[in-house]
């Protein structure tokens, strides 16, 4: 993982201050680091008198011990269930009573907690967030109730949804042998067996200032935030036990890639086709490849103007909807996904053939200048539109930090996109869209149609 690039020694505090090289007309980003390892990113936006206070931890479901799937997400729930000073359930109620909203989320590579609230309440949010970083009480009775809540959550998100069950089985095969083969929420039988002891071990290792990044967006500056962070967060002791290195697939071939994962379920009314390509790990060395991948996905998807929509929906009338996106924002192997909703007259084989033809075309000829220009326009402007929302900004920079990217890397992304050439896109298609790196899935309500 990379460290912050541009440190300046600051203010004689135990913190280091840094400023990113400003991008013309770009957002302001201020960074610092406390002596105990807590990194701080501030994204000033004075337009509204509110702040988004987020604490990101470098731990996600991909860091779970074997057989303990779901513990990262389960633990996220327990963080709302009481400390010495905050009674169970009182965390969110206190935030609400102060006129704020809070929530948290868990992914493969990170777990984040946030509050959105009036700016003058920021110190209390910090005090409460710091309190639960090291002072959580894990009560076995509460663990049992919360486990039921999570089983209901799994039922709602996955077990009652054929589409989610298909994705889960596809990722199990696509990422076999690596941590992303296990769903973030965990396997049902393993969730059922999680207990207070598992939670405690997990907490002590990962919930520490040197494993966290504080991101604050909104009506504040670093100069205002830093003394508060010193007051509330500086006293927390580091754990000095960062997560272990994970197994990353360098050979991207998928076993049995030619056999689609098929799910036939009478609850399905709209048949759908999807394909996941396993991507190489994103590193500083291959960032241009991934910028080209973003442009590639945009040329393919691109809404109504994209190649897939024009070919499958408009011309061949095989699908009612189709799309593509690159999920390369992962610590290990990312994914590029293509999906289609089948027209009632189309077969799965026809969809696959039509999509393969578009991919083949991408590999053979570079896209036109007009296509590239349009894709870049969409991507670059998305970075500007994102600045309208302090919550999006906190999310973007926090997520990047979890992946080992600096704020400067984020700011440079638009330049990376601008530098992509049509030939880069063709090469990206050749190296990233190889059928042997992929897995195809069919979701159907019709037994006869399911396989084909």
């Amino acid at each position: 993982m990379k460290k912050w690039g541009l440190f300046l020694v600051g203010l004689g505090l135990s913190a280091m201050l840094a400023n990113c090289t400003p991008v013309p007309d770009g957002p302001k980003v201020e960074t610092a680091k406390l002596a105990n390892g807590l990194e701080i990113i501030v994204l000033p936006d004075p337009r509204a008198n509110v702040v988004t206070h987020m604490l990101w931890y470098r731990v996600g479901s991909a860091d779970e011990p074997i057989g303990k799937s779901g513990i990262a997400h389960f633990f996220e729930h327990l963080m709302f269930r009481g400390t010495e000073k905050i009674a169970p359930g009182e965390f969110s109620k206190t935030v609400a009573r102060l006129g704020g909203q809070d929530n948290a989320f868990t992914s493969y590579d990170y777990t984040a907690y946030f509050q959105r609230i009036a700016r003058d309440k920021l110190p209390i949010m910090m005090e409460m967030e710091a309190e639960r970083m090291r002072g959580l009480i894990i009560n076995p009775d509460i663990v049992a109730v919360e486990r039921d809540v999570i089983l209901e959550e799994r039922s709602m998100r996955v077990d009652g949804r054929p589409s989610s069950l298909l994705s889960e089985q596809m990722r199990k095969r696509l990422h076999a042998g690596t941590a992303y083969s296990v769903p973030v929420i965990g396997w049902r039988d393993e969730i059922s067996a999680l207990n207070a002891a598992d939670a405690k071990t997990f907490y002590e290792r990962y919930y520490a200032p040197d494993n966290a990044v504080l991101v604050i967006a909104g009506a504040v500056s670093l100069a205002e935030v830093l003394p508060l962070a010193e007051t509330y967060y500086a006293k927390l002791t580091p754990s000095q036990t960062p997560r272990d290195a994970r197994r990353v697939a360098s050979d991207l071939r998928v076993n049995d890639y030619a056999t689609p994962e098929v799910r036939v379920d009478s609850r399905v009314r709209q048949d759908s086709w999807r394909r996941l390509y396993r991507l190489p790990q994103s590193t500083p060395q291959n960032r241009q490849l991934f910028a080209a991948a973003d442009v590639l996905a945009e040329v393919l998807d691109g809404g109504l103007t994209g190649r897939l929509y024009q070919a499958l929906v408009v011309e061949q009338k095989l699908a009612s909807g189709v799309g593509a996106y690159a999920d390369s924002a992962r610590l290990d192997n990312g994914e590029l996904m293509i999906y289609a909703s089948l027209a009632s007259t189309a077969s799965f084989d026809e969809i696959a053939a039509a999509i393969d033809a578009q991919i083949e075309r991408m590999m053979q000829q570079p896209p036109s200048e007009a296509e590239i220009a349009r894709a870049k326009m969409q991507l670059v402007s998305s970075a500007l539109f994102a600045r309208d929302s302090q919550q999006s900004m906190a999310d973007i920079f926090g997520r990047a930090a979890m992946l080992g990217l600096t704020p400067q890397d984020v700011l440079n992304w638009t330049r990376d996109i601008e530098a992509v050439t049509p030939e880069d896109v063709r090469r990206a298609a050749q190296s990233l869209l190889r059928i042997e790196h992929s897995l195809t899935g069919h979701l159907s309500g019709d037994t006869k149609r399911g396989g084909k």
């Binding site: 337009r47 509204a48 008198n49 997400h73 169970p88 359930g89 969110s92 109620k93 609400a96 009573r97 102060l98 006129g99 704020g100 909203q101 809070d102 948290a104 868990t106 109730v145 039921d148 809540v149 999570i150 959550e153 039922s155 709602m156 077990d159 973030v184 609850r267 009314r269 709209q270 910028a291 991948a293 996905a297 809404g303 109504l304 103007t305 024009q310 929906v313 408009v314 009612s320 909807g321 996106y325 690159a326 999920d327 349009r374 326009m377 969409q378 991507l379 998305s382 970075a383 539109f385 600045r387 309208d388 929302s389 302090q390 919550q391 973007i396 997520r399 990047a400 984020v410 992304w413």
Partner: protein
Amino acid sequence: MRFIFASLLLSASLSFGTAHATPRLHAVGGQAVGVQEVNVRDMSAWLVSEASLPIFTLEMAWQGGAATDPAQKTGLSMLMARLMNEGAGDMPAKAFQQALADKAISLSFNAGRDEVTGKLRCLKRYQDACVRLLKLALTAPRFDPEAIARMKQEQTSSILRAQQSPSALANSAFMKLAFDKHPYGQSRDGTQATLEGLTRDDIVAHYQNTFARDNLKLAVVGDMTRSQTRRLMRDVFAALPAHARLPRVADTLAILGPKTKHIERRGPQTSVTFGHRGIAYDDELFFPAFVMNSILGGSGFSSRLTEEVREARGLAYSVYSYFLSLEHSHLWLGSVASDNKTTQQALDVIRGEMRRIAQEGVDLSRLEAAKTYMTGAYALRFDSGAKIAQQLIGVQLSGWPIDYFKTRNQRIEAVRVEDVKAAAQRLLADGLLVVSVGETAVSLAKQR
């Protein structure tokens, strides 16, 4: 990294709690945001001029919407809305969409129950192209047969997808029971049969009847001055006909229970939608009812339903209630999904909380906590230009005056404990309508 910028919603992450889409009419409330009214001829727009980013958003709404779809032509407003950015003037769909994409212009339309809405998002430097393309879409939509067929296919998919979702199934069955033959009982997407029957003539006529000036509401937010807004209104909207010509939709009251309906569907959970009649905006108990619901089921982690159903018993991941105020009726609705074995228990706990708040009311500290939450969190709806635009259009559609942003919090502050109890007694009286989708048919048998 595109994922980081453009697709936050697709993220493979799980949240501690569900974020409920608050129905538009209750998402409004009070903070001064520097809203000005801009009048041009017979048109009016609400503007927040804020130029720190070189972008602007325009929200448009035409009153009418799916409620004006004839009974045998349900889905018409939605199909028309889908077609409004599918080609205009001499540009067929692809050319029109390319012209938008070349300048990163986002233009989309949707049909609500009581209005057709449009949303335009532009980079300031392409303002002229943005305005030109919007005008073309609004005044010269093509409705090409190719696009009509394609959008019918898309809408059919949407109908089918809704049949896969237990909560969507429960909601649509609830609306059907509550409103029977009234248009509110129909799906906005229509049915496969009605959709099939819609012709280009139907769409053109509905377009001509809907897009006028006397049923238009406008909100402009971002890098736009007052005079630029006036010019936009003159250039684009003055070209629309003066009067909409839509059928009158009758006011109606939802049909009450006590009544249950069960739809059998295989799966681990049963999804339940429950509800009553709601309350009109001009009712003196509206704000007390709004506060009462926040305490009961509207405030996420702080609500009594979450406390009792989720935190204390682990019976559900998500449980909530809300008011749905429509132009011609109103509902109070709630939703929960629980394991088939515990669905009845979850519903019993919910009904117990409804009785408790109606019989006992709330104590002062609970009321004060609800008020500070509701008044404080109101500001969170104004922290981005896109959100402010949604607020401006929502308040206009609700029929509130422009000072609502200032008075909303005062009205919440004024609610007293006895008002909350009175609202609960009137609104949560017997007569619950319940739809369950899953393996457990729930009952409303008297408890304890």
